[in-house]
Symmetry: C2
């Protein structure tokens, strides 16, 4: 990464959720020119800031995507947002290059597959475009260290955070998931393919069934130790607060400096309103 690459236009390949718009706004504030490539059927153009050019891109149009990226002078590209639907090729016949690239892009945006990310980054690099991560260009979107809102974890919650973090890191090392819930000294839920939302719904269900204590417990989200930070960063938003509250948790902790907030003010307001803490974990020291 050269210093000169941190100026000028940057391509945002945008999936669903609030992050593409927040990232575009952060880039505009930083004096950059975001160019949004909104994936048809996923990205919500209404969430994008005025001032950022938007091109709607269908899955078959990889050739057009590269032409537009180069025509707009983008030397960097960022993949951000989720992919909820399977690519629809019925309306458009992709070219051969696209047929190879599309499933890889879907896979890395869905599951943060690091091996495929390297391949996709190589294909972008051949065209003079560097894949970077959202926090490389918009560090203000990151959760900071310590309490983000008005509440702090109790000593009991701090112990739960330690327990859940160990579990999240263990499954992260195996490339299984990024999140775990601990209640007391016990890990009660571990995230795999179902994702954090469905894991929290499970905790709520176990509570309703009387299989867990009525309240307390924490969610911890962590980077996989070996993961590429250009993709699949832990993300926390107002809906995280709502789902954690519905699961009866006392709060959420995540890696500071490596977790995206889907709207800082809205997220902190939701945690405060629901009486939950949001806690940014400092990086573990080698002896920690």
């Amino acid at each position: 990464m050269t210093a000169s690459a941190r100026t000028g236009a940057v391509a945002i390949l945008a999936g669903n959720g609030a992050l593409p718009g927040l990232l575009a706004a952060a880039l505009l504030s930083a004096g950059r020119t975001p160019v949004v490539f909104a994936i048809a059927g996923e990205a919500d153009p209404a969430g994008l800031p005025a001032g950022a050019p938007v091109h709607v891109i269908r899955w078959g149009e990889i050739g057009r995507l590269f032409k537009l990226i180069q025509a707009s002078g983008c030397r960097e590209a960022i993949f951000v947002g989720g992919i909820a639907r399977r690519p629809d090729f019925t309306s458009l016949r992709p070219d051969l290059g696209a047929m190879k690239l599309i499933p890889r892009i879907v896979q890395i945006m869905r599951n943060g597959d690091d091996r495929l990310l390297g391949e996709v980054a190589g294909i972008f690099a051949e065209r003079g475009v560097e894949l970077v991560g959202p926090l490389d260009v918009a560090p203000d979107l990151a959760l900071g260290i310590g309490a983000a809102g008005g509440l702090r974890p109790s000593p009991e919650a701090m112990r739960e955070i330690t327990v859940a973090r160990s579990a999240a890191l263990a499954i992260g090392r195996l490339d299984i998931g990024q999140a775990a819930v601990a209640l007391g000294a016990r890990v009660v839920a571990v995230e795999a393919a179902e994702g954090t939302d469905m894991m929290l719904a499970r905790v709520a269900e176990l509570r309703r069934g009387g299989r867990l204590a009525d309240s307390g417990g924490v969610l911890v989200k962590c980077l996989k130790p070996q993961q590429d930070r250009r993709l699949d960063l832990p993300t926390i938003g107002p809906d995280t607060a709502e789902r954690a509250a519905a699961a009866g948790l006392s709060g959420v902790a995540a890696d500071a400096g490596a977790t995206l907030l889907a709207g800082r003010a809205e997220t902190v307001a939701a945690f405060d309103r629901l009486g939950l803490f949001l806690w940014g974990l400092a990086a573990e020291t080698a002896h920690g």
Copy 2:
């Protein structure tokens, strides 16, 4: 364990499910005298073999339990079967010793808590009764090495078994759970407080939602590496075959010699009928 302890009467503290009855029958076949203490509201007396004396025990009656164990000459006791309900103390006031012991027994029968098991075993030992495991006295209930039924894992399923086993051992080491599901090279579900049934239901749900490939994948159940084998052994029965089939899996693998079959003939028949393999894993060698 002395050789002489492997004769005579043995107390079975029986929770729900088929295992208490199967264990009592296996003990009768081996010339032992099982004395069943059926936990009221949990154990099903209909599933018990004729020839085994049965005492229904309510949670408050720990004093009576010990008197009956000693009166029947039992020098060994086994906890087997699940606990689905919270103990009900409304109808009976437990004595002080029971108040301390009951929650520990519930916890170890539910969650296999090794630390509490040591305490409970100590309380039984003070009364001259040794807590042992079901496979210590009835090794024929165990899954053997290799294919239990007519089907064997494909080479692809063998690779999935390796992946799921690593995940199950990793969470086992953290005392989180015993089971994981792998599909291709990826772990898609990991068991924690929800248990294996709810984890398999989740895999079925992810499949229906198009979030996993349509079929294939394996369930692996493993002993936690540090676990006490007197409690909470992995258990596989006909319902495991049904739930695995509903989740679209190609089969199930578990530790040979350490996994209980809830009815060998019925279990193998269910796996065969549903077209799934049931595979007993040999212990891993130190260099494996």
